[in-house]
């Protein structure tokens, strides 16, 4: 059930729920995803991966593989030029190309189970697989380090001998696994804590989890005789792929054409690629196109999951419910190379509250696991689990309703944050009030029955969203229909939501818009479809392009009539001349384009530097079987400030999808490793994502507090709805059985241990 709390609408297209433009191709099997690309003479590439978590590579011998009939190329690290030691912003995080090169094909050491060693291409997938078995690699195993606390011990095995801690306290002087330390502070946290009547402190751990997109990574590369490299790939950002390939191959940017395919799920995990460079190298050596598709096992072992963490949170509050101070220490696993989303975690964890005194210490720590990537609100879900769980406990200690407690402390426009800066245009109070007033929250709590104990929990999550660069071109055809070309990859339905904004801005029916994804050769630079930015930032580019197009159309009408274009007016598909009184339809002006100067196009190129944040609460009813420790969700409601819902159905779908991933993170999902650092569950049987039977029909309440920086008030909506889910479920479990779960996933073992049924 979806409920929309919305101001009166004055739009023709925005706020309606037309079928998505890509649906027809997707229900007939016609849509082409990254794994579906087939080119003439295409060979099949596979990547050989390390069976060890940490080892020195003594020797690689590919000669037996090269001799196998059907093998057309073998690529190794020797095929990659040296990379520059520079950190760039990519997707929602950062990369250093020296590390990216090492992650593409290992240098002298392998740093995680699944680390790529080299790649082969053969004329059939079966021959490529056979060839992998013929590559001989000699390793000298090293002791691995698998958890963030162990990695910070003084005698921990070191992953990178040259790594020193980056910190404003001055650079570190000794080898370490701590890549960076940051501290944020506001007010006087020690004094603030001293003023509290209630202080709660807890430590938390969360397991590494994966985005779980259903389509594995895939790329197909082809070189022209002139040296133009074309890569078809499943990605959130074609231009980011181009940049990375350029940095790793030292090939000119404009000679690399990256064509995004349909994307079978991404959630941040396809902000970067894991197959494109290997495909390009193999294709160049084989002198024929090569497709590299990862298996599910490779996808889980060796792409970019999000951080496992250890966290400590302390919150103090007065008897009246006012928070006096908050402290946190966040230690996030980066995986094999620096770059954990720990600063983002710090940025989000207390962002919902007005906290006068606070301190957050963050550590970015390398361990022998795959390098983390972005996952829906990177870093925020972990820290929100810790912060919101402690806040729920503070509210419980004070005997206060958790929403009432949050309303007392909630941030508003102008509130300063621990991590710096102040809020603008936030809808947090509206979200909390809508939560408090909704049917689910007001319904009686579910009653327990024997060993089945039931409870309700609530939590609040923040995600800041993103703006960045987007490029849109609108082209009018002779019949008046308009093609919309953008460099923003559609991963969620944005072709539809962008076309809807264009139709609204142009005063045309949606059916006249034909949106499409461009590629790096055909569109202007558009940043990755991450950070919940596309409907918002590319939407602004659409509105700019529409303004531009309308001005061009007015000029053409004026040229046809021979009048000054300033005297031409446009409304709802009709141009009129205020001097002559003539009128022409949109289609007529379009039809005259040959006579009035050729093609008619409007462009919108933006770099959006301000955007609106999003808040979402979750209300969850759970049932705990106190004999088995099993937890089942009975009811789940998401309440979110969505700014303005362009397509309320798709917005609600984002909220339901975010909630579902949060349920998996909370209850089922987590990487497991043995003592040698080998991943134990790289499959979808033991990496347990929620099924139809694990998720109730998630209710959605869309709160619309329009963001003034977007012509229609859009805020990013995709990421915020995952953030508070584990915390809300933890609160519900506490309500049901009276214990505080502090580890994710909150599996039966933990519940039974906390209940004292089995020994820890």
């Amino acid at each position: 059930m979806a409920t929309t709390k919305t101001p009166p609408k004055t739009f023709a297209v925005i706020g309606t729920t037309p079928p998505r433009v890509d649906a027809g191709a997707k229900v007939t099997g016609a849509a082409v995803y990254g794994i579906d690309v087939m080119l003439p003479r295409m060979a099949y590439g596979r990547i050989l991966r390390s069976p060890h978590a940490h080892a020195r590579i003594v020797r690689i011998d590919t000669s037996r593989a090269e001799a196998l009939p059907g093998v057309v190329a073998v690529a190794t690290a020797a095929d990659l030029p040296e990379a520059v030691d520079r950190t760039d912003r990519v997707g929602e995080g950062t990369v250093n190309y020296r590390y990216t090169r090492d992650a593409t094909f290992a240098g002298d050491k392998v740093l995680y189970h699944g680390h790529p060693i080299c790649a082969v291409a053969a004329v059939t997938p079966e021959a490529a697989e056979d060839a992998l078995a013929l590559i001989d690699v000699e390793y000298e195993p090293l002791e691995p380090v698998l958890d963030v606390r162990g990695a910070m011990e003084p005698d921990a095995p070191i992953l990178h001998p040259d790594l020193r801690t980056r910190s404003l306290a001055g650079p570190g002087s000794t080898p370490t696994n701590v890549a960076a330390h940051m501290r944020f502070e506001i007010g006087d946290p020690d004094q603030g804590m001293a003023e509290a009547d209630v202080v709660v402190e807890r430590e938390f751990q969360t397991a590494t989890v994966h985005q779980g997109y259903m389509e594995p990574h895939a790329a197909t590369a082809a070189w022209s005789p002139e040296g133009i490299l074309t890569i078809y790939t499943t990605t959130q950002g074609a231009f980011d792929v181009r940049t990375r390939v350029h940095e790793l191959l030292h090939h000119p940017l404009a000679d690399i054409r990256v064509v995004p395919t349909e994307v079978g799920g991404a959630f941040g995990g396809k902000n970067t690629g894991y197959t494109d460079v290997a495909a390009a190298l193999l294709a160049r050596k084989a002198e024929r196109p090569v497709r590299v598709v990862m298996s599910r096992e490779e996808t889980l072992m060796a792409t970019g999951p999000t951080s496992g963490t250890w966290m400590r949170v302390t919150v103090g509050a007065r008897r009246d419910g006012r928070i006096t101070a908050a402290k946190a220490e966040l230690r996030y696993e980066a995986g094999a190379y620096p770059g954990a989303p720990v600063f983002s975690g710090a940025n989000c964890m207390f962002a919902s509250y007005d906290i006068p005194n606070g301190r957050i210490d963050c550590y970015d720590v390398v361990v022998n696991k795959p390098r983390t990537g972005d996952y829906r609100s990177p870093g925020a879900t972990q820290s929100a689990f810790a912060a919101e769980t402690v806040l729920d406990e503070v509210a419980t200690c004070l005997g206060m309703d958790p929403i009432a407690f949050r309303l007392i402390n909630c941030a508003c426009d102008g509130t300063s944050r621990i991590t710096g800066g102040a809020h603008e245009h936030i809808g947090i109070r509206q979200v909390l009030e809508a939560t408090r007033d909704c049917a689910h929250y007001r319904a009686p709590r579910p009653k327990s029955d024997g060993y089945l104990r039931r409870g309700r929990g609530v939590a609040l999550g923040f995600w800041g969203n993103w703006g960045a660069r987007s490029s849109v071109t609108l082209s009018v055809a002779e019949d008046g229909t308009v093609s919309l070309l953008t460099g923003s990859v559609d991963i969620t339905g944005t072709r539809t939501s962008l076309a809807m904004q264009a139709a609204e801005a142009l005063g045309l029916p949606l059916e006249m818009l034909a949106p499409a994804m461009g590629d790096t050769q055909t569109t202007g630079h558009s940043d990755s479809s991450g950070g919940s930015r596309t409907t918002m930032a590319t939407g602004i580019a659409v509105c700019r392009a529409a303004e531009d197009l309308l001005a061009r159309m007015e000029e053409r009408a004026a040229a046809w009539w021979g009048v000054d274009s300033a005297t031409v007016e446009y409304a709802r598909g009709v141009f009129t001349s205020s001097t002559t009184g003539d009128a022409m339809s949109w289609a007529e002006v379009a039809g005259h384009q040959s006579e009035t100067g050729g093609a008619i196009r409007g462009h919108g190129d933006v770099n959006v530097r301000k955007w609106g944040a999003a808040y979402a609460t979750h209300i969850v009813d759970v049932e705990v079987d106190v004999e088995t420790g099993g937890v089942r969700l009975l009811r789940h409601t998401v309440v979110q400030d969505v700014g303005r819902a362009i397509h309320p159905g798709q917005v609600a779908s984002q909220m339901q999808g975010g909630a579902t991933q949060g349920i998996g993170w909370a209850l089922y999902e987590g990487y497991a490793y043995d003592a040698q650092g080998r991943m134990l569950n790289p499959n979808l049987l033991d990496y347990k994502m929620p099924t139809y039977l694990d998720v109730p029909a998630i209710e959605t309440i869309l709160v619309e507090v329009p963001y003034p920086g977007h012509p229609y008030g859009v805020r990013g909506v995709g990421e915020a709805p995952i953030v508070a889910v584990p915390a809300a479920i933890a609160a519900a479990i506490h309500d049901a059985v009276g214990v505080r779960t502090t580890r994710l996933p909150m599996g039966a073992t933990q519940i039974l241990q906390l209940l004292g049924v089995i020994d820890p």
């Binding site: 191709a25 099997g29 059939t124 259903m214 139809y692 998720v695």
Partner: protein
């Protein structure tokens, strides 16, 4: 390279004759040999349902069937669904109910829905969820998918009632 076996089968209502290695799964054969890429590979070990097809009318994971096993049998993939008017209604229902985001699991969901409605024309929500639980969707949270199957069942029932 290893020997290949000749396989003759009916795929999407048409006779098909192809060569494959015994180790190639039906999914490999559909995608790599026959170019029917509508059937997706999500996990390749029967835990996601993206590769669902109908084999002699039964719902199966094509990654868990060897290509050589379909000798003399009939297979229907997402590309062949629209030849049945009833299945076309399921496809339309998925579009109308916005029961997809990325669409990668959609072919498998459609096939599973078709198999369900063939055996149980008016399934309850619980029955839909139980039957479809082998088909993972990471985008939607499933609710829209359940609604789409229900709506298709309702629509099919009205057509049959009218006949």
């Amino acid at each position: 390279m290893p020997d290949r076996t000749r396989v003759r089968a009916i795929i999407n209502h048409e006779p098909v004759d192809f060569l494959c290695e015994p180790r190639q799964s039906l999914l490999d054969c559909l995608r790599d040999v026959l170019g029917l890429t509508g059937t997706k590979c999500g996990c390749n070990d029967g835990n996601c349902g993206a590769c669902s097809v109908l084999l002699d009318g039964r719902l199966v994971n094509s990654c868990l069937v060897l290509g050589v096993e379909i000798e003399g049998r009939s297979v229907v993939t997402v590309e062949g669904l629209a030849q049945w008017p009833g299945a076309r209604i399921i496809q339309e229902s998925f579009v109308e109910q916005d029961a997809l985001q990325c669409g990668f699991c959609t072919p498998g969901m459609l096939i599973a829905s078709k198999a369900l409605l063939d055996r149980s024309p008016r399934p309850s929500e619980d029955a839909i969820r139980a039957w479809m639980s082998g088909n993972l969707c990471r985008c939607t949270g499933y609710e829209r998918l359940v609604r789409a199957v229900q709506a298709a069942a309702d629509h099919l029932a009205t057509i049959e009632g009218a006949e």
